[in-house]
Symmetry: C2
Subunit: 220 residues, 2 copies
């Protein structure tokens, strides 16, 4: 067991392996090598072994890993044997998409509350939760033991919401607003900017076009 610091990317990939292992288990494939698992996830065999190596020894020389066994081990490592309560703040299109997404519950993430500032949305039923006023946030967060807050409000309100979540003592925040948040460092923040993900591709396209032009010039 290597107890060095685990790279961030390793964690991300562990979830990818787990997803694949779940599929393999469903297909009744009992055993898999690092090479095959890598193939199926677009990663290298060495990467697979090194990632797993941070957490212990799971394989058998010559034959690979037991699908079911490795799956269980990863679930434990990743905290999927527990459940965590989640609140969504902002019930716009994205917030609604998250509320109705079916996969969270079975992955140990229970969305147990939703908040919005817009009076017209309050009281609406979205799946199993009722949209509450943002004023009820502090009370609900502690009553329902919510540890993850999801920010799905416009950029301008994001910091304000973050402050409320922090004060209410959530332990992590998933931020979809395109703005840099300031929070105490013990609170883990993960930023996801959907718009930027798309925009990033425009750099790729612009760059491609530039090199194309460069080649045209050289050949003429």
């Amino acid at each position: 067991m290597n107890s060095k610091k685990v790279p961030e990317g390793t964690i991300t990939r562990l979830f990818i392996y787990l997803r694949e292992l779940t599929e393999l288990a469903r297909l009744n494939i009992r055993t898999i090598s690092s090479a095959e698992l890598g193939e199926r996830t677009n990663l290298s065999d060495a990467q697979v072994r090194k990632d797993l190596g941070y957490f212990g020894q799971f394989g058998t020389s010559g034959s690979g890993y037991q699908t079911e066994e490795l799956k269980n081990a990863l679930e434990k490592i990743l905290g999927k044997d527990k459940t965590w309560n989640v609140a969504i703040v902002g019930v716009g299109h994205l917030g609604s998409a998250l509320l109705t997404y079916p996969g969270f519950k079975e992955r140990g993430l229970n969305i147990v509350a939703a908040f919005d500032a817009d009076a017209r949305k309050i009281g609406k039923q979205a799946k199993e939760v009722t949209v509450q006023s943002i004023d009820e946030l502090p009370g609900t967060i502690s009553d329902k033991k919510i540890v993850i807050g999801v920010i799905a409000v416009p950029a301008k309100q994001a910091q304000e919401v973050a402050d409320k979540l922090v004060k209410a003592k959530v332990e992590c925040i998933l931020n979809f607003a395109p703005t840099a948040l300031t929070v105490p460092e013990q609170v883990k923040v993960k930023d996801v900017d959907l718009s930027r993900e798309l925009e990033t591709l425009s750099y790729f396209l612009a760059n491609k076009e530039r090199t194309r032009q460069l080649i045209d010039q050289q050949t003429s």
Copy 2:
């Protein structure tokens, strides 16, 4: 001008700087230092300078960068002086969220088509586009000169959709389906797994709990 290979992360951050510069320009702040810009984006001053250094020299010793000038330079570098046509495949909650998101157009990303396999959704109007049958995908992609395809369908259909997009000659794919896609390497794929982003936090929580237990044991 440093012409080394530009790190992936630099591009991501360039978009963050641009966002901040746009805000600064709006506030009529004419000039900014790398330290201030870093402060506002939760990045280090050195990081800011190094990132910009890949593309040229934009600053003035002693006073910093001209907001407007740097903003324009970044827009050019990132390809935001051009527009790119985008198609959304899969008009579920997430697809709809993307279709109605207001920010894309002004950022040079025009969503000009949407496809779905569900007959009940075809013909529906979402903002300025009408949902088409997936069978019309090949024709529409080339007619409308679409270069980016967004996959917002369930994992099981994702590869099939990817194949169609590739055959129709899109240049990049933004994939929201939680599965590894196989595409020719000249096609740029960016994976975004919303569910995984949330799940990742459960590792953080589980790990926190584990260390807490460890400390309890030691002190008892």
